[in-house]
């Protein structure tokens, strides 16, 4: 017999532990919500607007965070965060500031370590690009502080400049929320189309659970939401349903096979039977995501972090939440509702409820 991650015949009483599971989930969800007033939603520049400049100085340059900060401050940015990046011997810095951080007092201009020619050139460009002279735009400030840093600390390379203006930030935020809502709505519609009304609420609960807890963990740990995290949340939305579908399909199949069994027994049996594939599919995907997390580099890290959390939470929810939710709904509202499983598209309402051999065949059992 081949190696099995979950030995066949394993019987863990998942349903018996549903109260613990609900408490754990509720605590996680509430902790995330409770952390919002404390930690706040930390929005990255994609959504909040602002500027990020990533620079690499020549090897051996005499440079530290304080020096960079003082030049940046002198060039008109009042409240910039300066962080050293990467390995110690490489002088890489990330400078970040918000839209309102660009000072507008005239002295800033003269403190910035620029030559007269540079000063004149920047002023000319400002004027010619229609920028307000009293408050040069961020684009102009970035040029100034890069030139200033270069003058003081020697040659440097611009690795990255990202700027999101207030209007674009607002739009990206609105579009981001809209994308999440639309994706949720479309998936709910798909679930409603594919599953009977009995199964749909459980699948939706698991979905909300996964997104809620993943986002909550981001809030708890003060991690930033940006476009990459949004992409991960959407991917989780699509992916976390996979395990739930596997289990629900099996529940439906078992309901037809074991009509006389107790519902708790059927649910437990189904979760146990599919446990190995629930874990295995998550392990393979997690393997891929972890390799992104470890060697995929700084830029992709937020995506990988969110994705990894989402996969773990999704696996947990499909084993501990999806089936118990079904039981909860069933015992509350489902008495005498009959035992129709997830619908097959070909299976019309008239045919689907059929019992006995003919119905069993029409509703093809699934993995």
């Amino acid at each position: 017999m081949p190696f099995e991650i979950i030995p066949s015949g394993t019987h863990i009483d998942f349903l018996g532990r549903r109260r613990i599971a609900f408490v754990v989930s509720a605590v996680l969800l509430l902790a995330g919500i409770a952390a919002i007033p404390v930690q706040g939603f930390r929005l990255g520049i994609d959504f909040a607007g602002g500027t990020e400049v990533q620079l690499r100085f020549a090897p051996g340059a005499d440079v530290d965070e304080g020096k960079v900060r003082s030049v940046v401050g002198a060039c008109g940015v009042n409240d910039a965060s300066v962080v050293r990046y990467g390995e110690a011997e490489i002088s890489e810095f990330l400078i970040r500031f918000r839209e309102g951080a660009v000072g507008d007092d005239a002295d800033d201009e003269t403190r910035c370590p620029l030559s007269d020619a540079q000063r004149a050139e920047f002023a000319a460009t400002d004027a010619a690009t229609g920028a307000d002279e009293s408050a040069p735009g961020t684009a102009a400030i970035v040029d100034r502080l890069v030139a200033g840093l270069r003058n003081v600390m020697g040659d440097l390379e611009i690795l990255r400049v990202e700027y999101v203006g207030p209007r674009v930030g607002d739009e990206l935020r609105r579009d981001g929320v809209l994308a999440l809502l639309i994706a949720c709505a479309m998936i709910v519609a798909y679930i409603a189309f594919r599953f009977s009304s009995r199964f749909a609420p459980g699948a939706i609960a698991a979905l909300v659970h996964d997104i809620g807890i993943t986002a909550g963990i981001f809030v708890l740990f003060g991690l930033e939401f940006d476009l990459r995290v949004l992409a991960a949340l959407l991917a989780i939305l699509g992916y976390s349903l996979n395990d739930t579908i596997i289990i629900y399909d099996r529940i439906r199949e078992n309901m037809e096979l074991h009509t006389k069994h107790d519902l708790v027994d059927v649910l437990n049996r189904s979760v146990n039977q599919t446990l190995s594939r629930t874990l295995l599919t998550s392990i393979t995907t997690l393997g891929a995501v972890l390799s992104l997390l470890v060697v995929g580099g700084e830029v992709i890290r937020p995506f990988a972090v969110a994705m990894a959390i989402g996969i773990v939470v999704g696996t947990y929810s499909s084993t501990f939440i999806a089936a118990p939710t079904l039981l909860f709904l069933e015992t509350r509202f489902g008495e005498g509702a009959g035992r129709s499983g997830p619908r097959h598209p070909k299976e019309s309402g008239t045919k689907g409820r059929g019992s006995g051999k003919a119905g069993g065949k029409a509703a093809r059992a699934r993995a």
């Binding site: 004149a120 010619a128 040029d143 390379e157 674009v168 994308a179 992409a231 699509g238 470890v294 060697v295």
Partner: protein
């Protein structure tokens, strides 16, 4: 058996075709274009991977509306001075409004009728002698549309033009008032690229009426006459390095001729090897320029760009349609100036609203990091499925490889753009593609435990896993498509690879892996299955 051969042959051909398209990306483009057997177009790298400037520019169309009202105001004043006798006391443009104070209520009514007959404005308020006009909705829409077209045209000439612009750069309209500019690679320094967004580049030629060393000295001369007068301006010529004023000129406010008549401008070098910008007027411009120079022989002609004097040579004889600007500039500045002159002035200012600029070094770092993550992910997954499912795991690995070839091939076929989040999408696809195989294999194992024959177990495994796999992948496809619709920039690349990857992985799991089982063990009666 022959039917199986046909199916296997077709599948192999499909995989080989897309595999060929994928692999062709690694051949340099020059070689590909020269070779008729190789595809010219392939996968494109996003700016976050090859480095480059990504700008979303907001076009200040409010300024265009103001310009339109100013134009109307000027027209009104002219009509008042020449034909009508409205006795306009004052008129001014304030944001989106034009306010006119006429000499009398009757005159005001005449002005109102005249203005409304033009069709582009409507009267917002009418109180005695004071009228306030606003552009009509139709006129406003027209002005904004025209403004966008003009800005796009100029930016295309400066940046997007295949010959005169920056190679491979893109200038496209985005929404109602935005322009997307993409300049790939480290071709141009960021601060230099910003010069290309200069509004003006407005060239004027004016006869010098007076000159002195500084503005103050020049102004002092006219103090007794009560200033230089409304129709004159003072402009300065400055030293390039220090911005120090070299001389101040008294010029007419109205230009004798402007850069609108230019047909060409290019860099050349004078006898001392200093860079100069040569320009050429069209026929009409040449005529005006000729008359101007003939009438002012012995006078100095100031060449003014953006209200700054570049040089003020003495006119020695009539000049035709050609001339040159001898500024005190570097070769680079001369080249930039030539570009700006050639492309005409940007009629409306633009503002950088979003920027995603990546240096070539970071792009290269991202490529290698993405490649490392892909290879590591692939190795982890292949090792895992081989260890866990043995020969069947080998099938899954082959299907996975084929999946990558299909994904790369489809993207190359459509000339899709690969970004760093796109690579993340590929890695995620690799992880998810194997899921389908896991679902099938686990079901087969289960059927084997239920004492089914290997052949029966395979058939049941595939059949029962079919809808589960479809459901799982359709939900992922839904979210990928939503992200494609709402995502911007590199993130869109994630949606692209994820959605194509979902389709190819369903194909490779349900078709290719199944085909491998059909070939071995196929219809042979086997005792056990390596799964």
């Amino acid at each position: 058996m022959s039917q199986l051969r046909l199916r296997a042959g077709t599948a192999l051909a499909v995989v080989l075709f897309f595999g060929f398209l994928t692999v062709a990306n690694f051949i340099p483009e020059e070689t590909r274009i020269g070779n008729p057997l190789l595809p010219d177009q392939g996968l494109r790298l996003g700016l976050d991977l090859q480095g480059g400037i990504h700008w979303v520019l907001g076009v200040k169309l409010d300024v265009a509306e103001e310009q339109e009202l100013s134009f109307l105001r000027k027209h009104l004043e002219e009509v008042d001075a020449e034909d009508a006798d409205w006795g306009i006391e004052s008129s001014r443009v304030d944001g989106p409004r034009l306010e006119v104070v006429a000499g009398s209520p009757i005159a005001a009514q005449e002005v109102r009728e005249w203005a409304e007959r033009l069709g582009s404005v409507e009267t917002l308020s009418d109180e005695g002698t004071t009228l306030v006009f606003e552009l009509t909705d139709v006129a406003r829409a027209n002005v904004r549309q025209r403004g966008m077209d003009q800005v796009l045209e100029v930016l295309r000439r400066r940046i997007g033009d295949p010959v005169r612009g920056i190679p491979d750069s893109v200038v496209t309209r985005q929404g109602s008032d935005r322009v997307l500019v993409q300049i790939p690679g480290g071709q141009i320094d960021r601060s230099r690229a910003r010069q290309l967004l200069k509004v003006t580049g407005f060239l004027e030629f004016k006869i010098v009426r007076d000159a002195d060393q500084t503005v103050e000295l020049l102004e002092a001369r006219y103090e007794e006459q009560g200033g230089i007068g409304d129709d004159r301006v003072i402009a300065t010529e400055r030293e390039r390095e220090t911005d120090r004023v070299l001389s101040a000129y008294l010029l007419d406010r109205e230009a004798a001729i402007t850069g609108d008549y230019l047909t060409d401008a290019r860099v050349n070098f004078d006898r001392q090897q200093r860079p100069v910008v040569e320009f050429q007027f069209n026929t009409q411009g040449g005529q005006i320029f000729g008359e101007l120079s003939a009438a002012n022989v012995g006078e100095r002609l100031a060449i003014v760009l953006d209200e700054r004097v570049y040089s003020a040579p003495v006119i020695r004889s009539r000049i035709g349609s050609r001339g040159q600007i001898e500024g005190r500039f570097s070769a680079q500045e001369a080249a930039d100036l030539a570009v700006v002159l050639r492309s005409g002035s940007l009629p409306i200012p633009v503002e950088i609203e979003e920027e995603r600029t990546v240096g070539p070094a970071l792009g290269a770092d991202s490529i290698s990091a993405g490649l490392r993550a892909s290879i590591l992910g692939l190795v982890i997954i292949v090792a895992f499925v081989l260890g866990y499912y043995r020969l069947s795991g080998g099938y899954a690995s082959l299907a996975l490889l084929a999946n990558l070839l299909l994904l790369g091939g489809v993207m190359s076929l459509f000339g899709a753009t690969l970004t760093l989040p796109g690579i993340a999408g590929v890695v995620l696809t690799v992880g998810m593609a194997v899921d389908a195989n896991v679902i099938i294999f686990e079901r087969i194992r289960e059927e084997l435990r239920a004492q089914k024959t290997p052949r029966g177990a395979i058939a049941t495994g595939f059949n029962k896993a079919f809808w589960t796999i479809m459901d799982a992948n359709i939900t992922t496809l839904i979210t990928a498509l939503v992200l494609f619709e709402y995502g911007t920039g590199p993130i869109k690349g994630f949606a692209v690879t994820l959605s194509i990857g979902v389709v190819t992985s369903v194909f490779s799991a349900l078709v290719l892996t199944r085909l491998m089982f059909a070939i071995h063990p196929g219809s042979r009666p086997v005792e056990s299955l390596s799964i």
